[in-house]
Amino acid sequence: MTEPDASSGHGTTRRRLLFGGAAAGLGAAVALTTDRAAAGQAAPVPDTTGINGAVAHLFHGAHQSGIATPVASYASFVALDLNAGINREALRRLMRVLSDDAARLMEGRGALADTEPELATVPAGLTVTFGFGPGFVKRADGPTPAWLAPLPAFGIDDLNEAYSDGDLLLLVSADDQVTVAHAVRMLLKDARSFATLKWRQDGFRRAYGSEVSGTTMRNLFGQVDGTTNPNPGTPTFDKVVWSTDGWMAGGTSLVLRRIRLNLDTWDEVDPTGRSFSVGRDISTGAPLTGSRESDEPDFEATTPAGHTVISPVSHIARSRPVEPHEVIFRRGYNYDVPPSGDGVSESGLLFASYQADPVRQFVPIQRRLDEADLLNTWTTPIGSAVFAIPPGCSAGGYVGETLLA
């Protein structure tokens, strides 16, 4: 029983339903997906299957899951530091075990030697994505991509090592937090002979079923966030995201930035000021020169007084590509954790972007935002990490084999 990948729109079968009972209404979902592919747009797709616990994505494939697969409601980004003495041979053992765990868990069954296999029976769209930091590639004696290093320092940064860097990334996402918790623990148990936990950052979006799948996420500023993303399954997406270089061919890079949103000072800004800072209507997400989220912003349009309608220092004016290759694919999450000190909230964005080359594609955008962006008044990057996301593997292989084999 299969269903076309809701985000790829070209009929690739990466999304499956495990149980017959969940297939009600499947025909309607397929039809809508096909219509959307014909239109070539990322229109939201109503999910008519109702119960999604049985939704399973394939672990094996040319690319790792969790990037082009439909975004799930919850994600845990977990960074590990490798123990002293872990060498290339040990990394091979580690990645074989972790790949096997991920493949089984994504199928909705317990990992090998899983002590709680019952928790694995609801995959709920589980994906597991592995990323290598510079330390991992060095231990593997592999060629390090030129871009695989901490990002250059930015003036707006106030980075905390507790949310930065790391040798090995485990990115676990699903529409069910029990599933995420179990998968993370299983993977960490199997990694503990090799590495120690450096940090874990948990993020969330709207729960599954709360709104139509594919709706652009709102961050905790209320801002529609991610409007101009490339669509998975399109040539543009493939060009933006997938590397063609050496052992990374079929892989990509992840830039993860923990961006604190100062909700207390944001509260002081009225809707007009918020919209002006973003360059989009805060309520609808439409550019200030348009009426719908999908409208192209007109950065030249002026007011009767002669100013541009969209401020040149608004977020969308500063973040738009100057060069055609300055495009990234964003797949971020919100975070909201107990505050320390006097504030009532500690909230923000797990900004996550994927691109073939972060130095070429992401850094120019970030430099412009660093120089000027009205949103910087209320936002502070407090964590930063870059990981190489190696290509996927076929059944019988393991993630990282192009580096380690």
């Binding site: 040990a90 074989r96 096997d100 030697a113 090799f194 593997c393 019988g396």
Partner: protein, 191 residues
Amino acid sequence: MFTVPTHARLSAVAVLAAASLAACASSDDATEAGSATNVDVAIVDAWTKATDSGMTATFGEITNEGDEAITLIAATTDASSMVELHETSMDDAGGMSMSEKDGGFTIEAGDTLVLEPGGNHIMLMGVTDPIEAGADVPVTLEFEGGGTVEMDTVAKDYTGANEEYVGDKDHGSMEHSGDAGSDEDHSGNDH
């Protein structure tokens, strides 16, 4: 003991089995053993508990795909100098204890022998070289009548499978008498 005669009994069947189980990410693929030795089994989910030294155990599911009952009578592996087939049962005190299975495990046609923590398992003793997580640990299964099957297992970190051992016969210098703290972890117990 892993002996030369055991090597000699490894047949073409065993080689085939090893080839199809080589990768851990596909360890759900059943191993098909042919009929050359009259043992036709499918093996899935085979793993061995990682250990630095001493005792450990191998688990997995062995399905008899043949038409007649078969009996697993022994197992050998390079990883251990002494391998036994064990069963686990509740002792008088309510704890779980394990002991050697007399006569081995008979698997009826179509049935599956489940080797699992807390249940039947293949006991590895006298481990001297560490069995590291993620390592391949090939185990040769010997069946009544002389058939052998190579079972590729992968080593996994596992903190369970600590049943006490109440072996009732001499295991050389092994301490195994179920004294307090005796379990499969027995680091440094292989003296």
